[in-house]
């Protein structure tokens, strides 16, 4: 069944797809979004239920290979040091994220020029700055300007989330050492914002947000896009981007939830299916003009996968009462003391510290960043030592691109529609391991300075592939990149890729504000330069 042409077909409604859908629809483009997941209501999120910890370990797990919902596709990650994580729903992985929203630094776009590694981006921080601001406004940013580790930025729309006594304790630890820290920018409302409630500090903010305080795109951009006439077609699993004899995109083939094939034709196609889903789809979309996959004349589709390997360092404190589970779990404050390359170190680039809180009793027992509480004799003593009395410093490392880290199509594994699943091959580099070791040693100092009586570290956190980047990189040279600086494919001028796939380097911060800024900028490019794509 074929559906009549629209101006823009967007595949995915997560961070980037939703932002572009809103921006393009504001300018009068006729947009359809295909989303393989469905809508979640706030009262369907785990925290609305007494068994929220069971749900978070199963049907709402970060890992699609554990979750295995009908809308998920499996990922073969047997040859990967890190498991890729994602969520399939309207809002994509922003339903699941912890909404920590740092920006890239100006230096992150120029690592080749500054440090002689990887490549420079074809765009700069300053090209994105106004889009960061726009996105902060629409997603709803809580924070405070004045951070000495970053360029000046406009006043945040809302004040920071509460640090709480546990956050203040860690902040003082950094102060004692004379090291930088700053309250994190978060897309979590610290006060009522545009019809959304303020955060009520329930804790596990990676499980959807009952209060809609967290800025997932299903409560930010998508409702506004729908008001503008965007159609969001759920439970629609795309398996091929179609092209004509010139190699230009003509739309996409997809299955609905009854397994019936459809074709949506379009004057242009935007792919926003994340750093694993996007290369999978491009590699599936072979044609005579694109024999190695769509937009893959460079051979770069699927290569240079970057994750941000994490080291996790937990500190345990002698608190009289358990309390460190009160407040947003993720990323309350950060330190960028060790963000940049220093010649005296044995690695290039750097890392950010993020402070995370503890969580509920079952998750404490089962462990997350450290092994489970021991069973048998000594169980209750060990549990009491951990529960509500710990803080975590996550070391998020810059992950440099390497071609052998990649996504391709698995020769055997398929999803429920029989579509080949992605296969991920990824090794943590020696540079990253040295960087993480450095981060662990210094985190131990911070936690000790903050009063921890015990510190425990996990050098590489396997279940930490939240950030999927680099697999359809941007660049000026069609021989070595997939899209240009405006996210337009070198091989098809009406095909755009706007998710983390286009990242040239990863920086050492969470990528979502940058993904969204890039998406908004790409949308503006289409609006300003590609009116030919509008009917």
């Amino acid at each position: 069944m074929s559906k009549g042409p629209v101006d823009v077909l967007i595949i995915g409604t997560g961070a980037s797809g939703a932002a572009a859908a809103w921006r393009l629809s504001e300018a009068g483009f006729k947009v359809v979004c295909l989303e393989q997941g469905g809508w979640y209501r706030a009262d369907q999120y785990p925290t609305a239920f007494g068994d929220w910890e069971f749900r978070s370990a199963t049907s709402f797990a970060f890992d699609p290979n554990i979750r295995r919902l009908p809308e998920d596709y499996p990922v073969n990650d047997k040859n990967s040091d890190v498991s890729p994580l994602m969520f399939n729903a309207v809002g994509g992985s922003t339903v699941h994220w912890t909404a920590h929203t740092p920006r890239f630094h100006p230096s992150d776009f120029r690592v080749k020029s500054l440090d002689g590694v990887a490549d420079d981006w074809p765009i700069s921080y300053w090209d994105l700055e106004k889009y960061y601001d726009l996105n902060d406004e629409w997603m709803g940013c809580s924070g405070i300007s004045g951070d000495p580790a970053n360029p000046p930025r406009s006043q945040r729309p809302m004040p920071p989330l509460p640090l709480g006594p546990d956050g203040e304790r860690i902040a003082r630890g950094f102060d004692k050492l004379g090291w930088h820290w700053w309250p994190s920018d978060n897309y979590i409302a610290s006060q009522p914002y545009r019809g959304r409630n303020a955060c009520n500090n329930c804790g596990p903010n990676g499980l959807g947000c009952f209060q809609q305080a967290k800025g997932s795109t299903d409560v930010t951009y998508i409702p506004e896009a729908i008001k503008n006439g965007v159609e969001v077609r759920t439970n629609s699993r795309v398996f091929e981007i179609t092209t004509n004899s010139d190699g230009r995109a003509t739309g996409a083939m997809y299955y609905d939830d009854e397994g019936i094939e459809h074709h949506q034709s379009a004057r242009s196609v935007i792919v926003a299916a994340n750093g694993v889903g996007t290369p999978r789809l491009l590699l599936l979309s072979k044609s005579r003009k694109h024999p190695d996959g769509l937009a893959n004349s460079s051979g770069m589709v699927g290569k240079n996968l970057m994750f941000h390997p994490y080291a996790m360092v937990s500190g345990f404190f002698d608190d009289a009462e358990p309390n460190t589970f009160k407040g947003a779990l993720g990323n309350i404050l950060m330190s960028q003391e060790f963000y940049e390359t220093k010649s005296r170190r044995d690695f290039v680039r750097g890392y950010t510290y993020q402070m995370n809180r503890s969580t509920g009793p079952a998750k404490t027992a089962t462990g997350f960043t450290i092994p489970p509480v021991q069973w048998g004799k000594g169980h209750h003593e060990e549990f009491a030592l951990r529960f509500g009395k710990s803080a975590l410093l996550a070391v998020i490392s810059e992950d440099l691109p390497e071609e052998h880290n990649r996504v391709d199509l698995d020769p055997k594994l398929t999803d429920s529609n029989g579509i080949p699943a992605p296969r991920v091959t990824y090794k943590v580099s020696q540079n990253t391991r040295k960087l993480l070791d450095h981060g662990i040693r210094n985190a131990e100092k911070v936690l000790t300075a903050a009063g921890a009586h015990r510190v425990e570290a996990t050098p590489v956190h396997r279940s930490g592939g939240w950030h999927l980047m680099g697999t359809a990189r941007m660049g000026t040279d069609p021989a070595t990149s997939v899209v240009d600086g405006n996210c337009q494919a070198h091989d098809a001028d009406n095909l755009f890729i706007i998710d983390g796939s286009v990242f040239v380097t990863s920086a050492a911060v969470n990528p979502t504000p940058t993904i969204q800024a890039i998406a908004l900028r790409a949308a503006d490019y289409i609006i300003n330069e590609r009116q030919d794509l509008k009917a």
């Binding site: 239920f49 929220w52 500054l114 950094f174 955060c199 358990p322 407040g327 509920g360 009793p361 004799k377």
Partner: protein, 156 residues
Amino acid sequence: MPTAEGQLTNSDRRNMKVVMDRLVPPVDDLPGAGSMGLLDEVERMAEEHDRYRVSLVRFLDALSMDMSVEAEGGFLALEGEQQDEALKEIESSIAKEFANVLEVVYLAYYSRPEVHRRIGWRSGPLQPLGFTLPPFDESILDTVRKREPFWRQAPD
């Protein structure tokens, strides 16, 4: 040993109840996880999520076939310390499955209101109550605000 269809037998249930008491032993006035009557909950969770079901079956298979258990005439006949040794053997031989069984037992145990009362956790959904924290206090920034900007300049 579970049936070919993966159903637990009465013998499996008796074993599992004792296993759960070994994994999470009694504390204060609370019995161990098995004596607390959590096996039904563990089975329900396993039925709902395949990862746990498969692991539980494999674990009970391993338990029934463990040499030390067989030699002594069954897991239930062992002394407590011997039961722990048998469990450690299984933990090292099928680590992934053992970890999944431990996880589902912990999920069941730490969902119980009586356990929550003991450890100081509020039972029930986290929402809509949430928790109260004092608002952000800017004075915490006094030290770090004295620092000059140090972000690295980059060529355009």
